[in-house]
Amino acid sequence: MGPKIGPKIGVVTFPGSLDDQDALRAIRLCEGEPVPLWHGNDTLDDVEAVILPGGFSYGDYLRCGAISRFAPVMTEVIKSAESGMPVLGICNGFQILCEAHLLPGALIRNDVRVFVCKDQDLRVESVDTPWTSEFTQGQEITLVLKSGEGGYVADEETLRRLEGEGQVIFRYINGNPNGSYNDIAGICNERGNVIGLMPHPEHNVDALTGPTQDGRSVFSSVFNFLTAKV
């Protein structure tokens, strides 16, 4: 092991997770300390933030995220999220956070009825969260979007609240890829520490494999937040 690096960020692996390794790698590339967490654990191993990665946890059986939401590790994730720990759900992780009621609304099958895989343009709507402080307000970025059930839905009152309270964090621009209400790509909870995001920042950290490195700011934001906190 080299010298101690940045904050310890946990990434939960569920059976059927796909992007857990990419998320761990992104944390390492951005000089954090990645900590793999197993869904069957009942502790978070002293991590300072948690990422629920993309994929098809529990085979997407029943509904995406519906079964993962009750995995043993989620008891601790929910408790830590409610006490302010930064939690990021990417794609399937976003679905899990909605099923766990840590975030309002739900994600349904894309209105276009096909799996969408593309470089998606987004606008950063709020930099006032632990996961977005390194972006600039209104910054336009491009991240990989790859999902079959990425349509964000919520009732009108919830949408009004999200918009009014600045809880819409990322919005699709240059076309809505999946029918998400209000072009919503990412939201946060009232406190701002829990974020769900459909596109994949962990895939946009390396010039070799992505058209942008816009995803890096997500990781550097949370590192700065955690470092400043100490």
Partner: protein, 104 residues
């Protein structure tokens, strides 16, 4: 053993892309004038007597896991199991008891 059926449907205001795809396929096959919304049916084989408490517990189970009440409604009802072959003489025709509850 009792059979309890839980039907789960997307709320009317929620887009149902699967139902739309089925609707389109039916039209292409010549089944005109049919609009489909697609849900799920769960068959629960339940041990013991179906008391009111037990049914309330099943409704809780449906609300906790089987349906996401943000986007779906669910309906819990008791279904009479068809009689086994050697009991056929006294077997009533399968009939659904009206213990339905709407929720969600």
């Amino acid at each position: 053993m009792a059979r309890v059926v839980v039907d789960v449907m997307p709320k009317p205001e929620i887009l149902d892309p699967q139902g739309k795809a089925v609707t389109g396929a039916l039209a292409r096959l010549g089944f005109a004038g049919i609009s489909v919304r697609q849900g799920k049916r769960f068959e629960l084989d339940v041990e013991g007597d179906l008391t009111e408490d037990r049914l309330a517990e099943l409704r809780r189970a449906a609300e906790t896991l089987l349906a996401n009440t943000v986007i779906e409604t669910f309906n819990v009802r008791v279904e009479e199991l068809p009689a086994s072959p050697d009991e056929e003489d006294q077997g009533e025709p399968a009939e659904q008891a009206e213990l339905a509850t709407q929720a969600g």
